[in-house]
């Protein structure tokens, strides 16, 4: 059975406490979060976590390094390769970076477990590390913490065997950072929790329990990701996690460490677990995941490691908020540069089947097609009696058009059309065609494109493009 052979962590020693954030002197006992100092970033933290994980293991056996996080200092250039060199690992090595999602750590861990199970690799180091930047003075600043967790994944002598996992994907604009955003952006907190995290983490855990035929009480250790203390507690309660089973999320000592947070809580679980206990790890981000592990005999032989407990005990407080801002290259006014929230993420969430999946609906009473989804049929007024119909793979035709020179685009005019697709009418841009060559009735197909950048984010929708005919081998008629 593949599993975790060893673990390690890194949490920067610097602590910013809530008193200091409020402009007062630090106070022992005040809630605090761990922060990477000016000479630290997600790669440096990853390397140290790797060192701590590999302590006592033969580095020449490592044949893979997967690095996960949403704050790699490079947009282009691999973190895993740098980590491998810093750890002096063999040159013959499979490496990959997992990014973009707070579930990236789970993706990397899963890929390593799969590679080992498939026999494609024998010993993979997985490191998740993050230091997310919150706008000064924002609520996120009180929640975010920095840190890294590392696991050695192998097939033999595992300290925690991997019993199975469950994951799902969801399209939701709850927390994000677009290409040019300095700070993590988010939609209204209540939406983020009520439509994102709360149902997401529960769907993940329940999905795993069902798949494993298990009860939540079967798990002696539950490492539950949460964006903040309150939401995490509420999720644990809703799932029926016993107080004694819940791994301390350390919100007042560490903070939410992004894609490294769930992995760090897994380290916390391994530190507490005794062989034979089952461990549940659950995380959230653009969907959710839950994994089941079982602590095995070798866990007891790993001995004391530099994990979560060791790092939380090693701490020193920042004396003044200005020192923190300077270390991070911030000034108190940085938040003012944040972009507007733009188009409603809430509306986008509700309409993702229309806009992203490009689905229309057919009335079950009269057969009329309509787009976007309606409650009442435009033709026969039947209410809530529709079936969903995917338009993206259909062929449509141009009902009418205009060439718009008014709205800003680098290459006007924009060809704007009404397209008939199986009877539904859709207002769409027509691309890949000189504007003068559009004809009424011409057949079109559909492509997923960026439609505009309102709110400083890429906004995606479908566009019509002239039907290019069936591809070779496609269709026989």
């Amino acid at each position: 059975m593949p599993g975790i052979v060893s673990y390690g962590a890194y949490v920067p020693p610097t602590r910013l406490d809530f008193e200091v954030m409020a402009g007062r002197p630090p106070r022992e006992g005040a809630g605090e979060r761990a922060i990477a100092w000016r000479d630290e970033d997600s790669l440096t933290m990853a390397v140290t976590a790797g060192v701590n994980c590999l302590r006592g293991f033969d580095r020449t056996c490592v044949d893979g390094v997967f690095f996960a996080g949403v704050t790699s200092p490079y947009r282009e250039k691999q973190g895993a390769a740098l980590i491998a060199r810093a750890l002096d690992l063999p040159r013959a090595l499979r490496t990959a970076d997992f990014s973009s999602s707070l579930r990236a750590g789970e993706g990397a861990l899963c890929a390593a477990l799969d590679a080992v199970r498939a026999g494609a690799a024998s010993c993979v180091l997985v490191v998740a590390s993050d230091c997310r930047l919150a706008a000064p003075g924002s609520a996120q600043e009180r929640n975010f913490g920095d840190g890294a967790a590392a696991f050695l994944v192998g097939a033999h002598d595992v300290a925690a065997g991997f019993e199975g996992g469950f994951a799902f994907a969801d399209e939701i604009l709850d927390v994000w950072r677009a290409q040019h955003d300095s700070f993590v952006q988010s939609w209204e907190e209540r939406f983020v929790i009520q439509e994102g995290y709360a149902p997401g983490i529960q769907e993940a855990v329940r999905g795993l329990l069902e798949k494993q035929g298990a009860e939540i009480s079967d798990f002696a250790q539950v490492a539950l990701y949460g964006p903040d203390a309150r939401s995490q507690r509420a999720a644990a309660r809703a799932l029926g996690v016993a107080e004694t089973a819940l791994v301390d999320p350390c919100f007042d000592r560490l903070g939410n460490a992004g894609a490294a947070f769930a992995p760090l809580l897994l380290v916390g679980a391994l530190e507490r677990a005794v062989p034979g206990q089952r461990i549940l790890l659950a995380g959230y981000g653009d969907g959710g995941f839950a994994h089941a592990f079982r602590a095995e005999a070798p866990l007891a032989e790993l001995g004391a490691r530099r994990g979560l407990r060791w790092h939380l005990a090693r701490r020193s407080k920042v004396a003044r908020y200005e020192h923190y801002l300077a270390a991070r290259g911030l000034d108190a006014g940085s938040a003012a540069g944040q972009r507007g929230a733009g188009l409603s993420a809430t509306a986008h969430h509700r309409e993702r089947d229309d806009e992203i999946a490009f689905k229309a609906q057919r009335c079950l009473a009269c057969g009329a097609m309509q787009f976007p989804a309606q409650r009442v049929c435009e033709r026969c007024r039947a209410r809530d009696a529709f079936e969903s119909v995917r338009l993206s793979d259909k062929i449509g035709s141009v009902v009418t058009y205009t060439r718009d020179y008014f709205f800003p685009t680098p290459d006007p005019p924009t060809l704007v059309t009404i397209i008939d697709v199986e009877g539904a009418r859709v207002h769409l841009q027509l691309v890949n065609l000189p504007a003068g060559e559009v004809r009424l009735g011409m057949p079109v197909e559909f492509e997923f494109r960026r439609i505009h950048e309102m709110g400083g984010r890429p906004n995606y929708y479908w566009k019509a493009t002239p039907f290019a005919g069936p591809a070779a081998g496609e269709g026989s008629a």
Binding site: L343, E378, V399, T402, R403, D404, F407, A424, H427, Y461
Partner: protein, 383 residues
Amino acid sequence: MGREVIRDKVAITGVGCCPFGENWNQGPADMIVDAAYEAYADAGIEDPQRQIDAVFTGSIYSNKGPHECSDALKLFNKPVTMVSNYCATGTEALRCGVLSIAAGLYDTVLIVGYDKPKDRGVAGPSVMMDRVRDLPQTPAGWFALCAATYFEKFGAGREDLAKIAVKNHKNGTLAPNSFLKREITVEEVLAARMISWPFGLYDCAAQTDGAAAAVLSRADLVPPAGRILVKGVAVIAGPNPQKDPGNDFLSWKPSAWAAEEVYAQAGIDDPAGQVDVAQLHDCFTLTELLSYEDLGFIEKGSAREHIADGRFELGGALPVNTDGGLKAFGHPTAATGVRMIYENVQQLRGTAGARQVPDVHTALSHNIGGHPTACGIAILGKS
């Protein structure tokens, strides 16, 4: 439904309209006061606080609610209601005033339509992007969608549209409070920069600031001589033309629906013969063209020949937009429907000066609105 129940119940006793334009030095309150006090004077209202029973007002760009109007006019301790129906808001305000009097609630009400788009710091309409799937779009883009289909089916073209703009600019030079007072040529229209094909700049209405007002009274309280009566006023909602699976893009459905309703109210069965002058919603030249047909002034598809023979010009059989219309008089969204009443009252009284159409007994005003899925039509006549 008692479609004729409001006919002749309500008289329009006074109208007012501030100059439409880029009124940089006037706020909404200034324009409201100018329009309302002109209407008071016209109606012989000397003590508005005592004589006005209720106010119906509308504005699209203001977000201050009815308070902006009541506070400007200091009309307190009486109902002030704000209505909203996009570009048809003015006609909607009129309708609410008419209904309230016809229902016996009030003797005299004031209606005020106003808008101040020039305080936004942008020229032209806002590019609307409410949602991801709402393409960046403008009103020009909505109405332009009827052009390719209409041109292909009926053979009209940009030159025919241009003649409508030329007519309205010419009429606008004759209206004292109009914004654009410059005649233009078909060549100029065709050469103007393109906005949304087939609309060039001169195919589009002039967005301006402005306010217009009217005083309505119970008809039986007004002496019959020279009395101007509301014959009918209808506001109709329609489907979004872009989503409507049955839309042929050859007409504007709500216009035809509202026309059917208002003609029934007013007892009109031959609009081409019975309507003497019309103010049509020419937000774009094609919108005016479609309205000739949708309102039954001419056969569907025949606009081109009637534009050519001058039927809708001053001096033609059915002059349209005698004061320059939205195109030249200006288009402060919620004021427009009331401005049309202002013009039609002058036409009915015979006080329209150089714009006067001879022998006007029945005058029609038409607003497309609702974003852009509604239509309002009002018909005025003499006792």
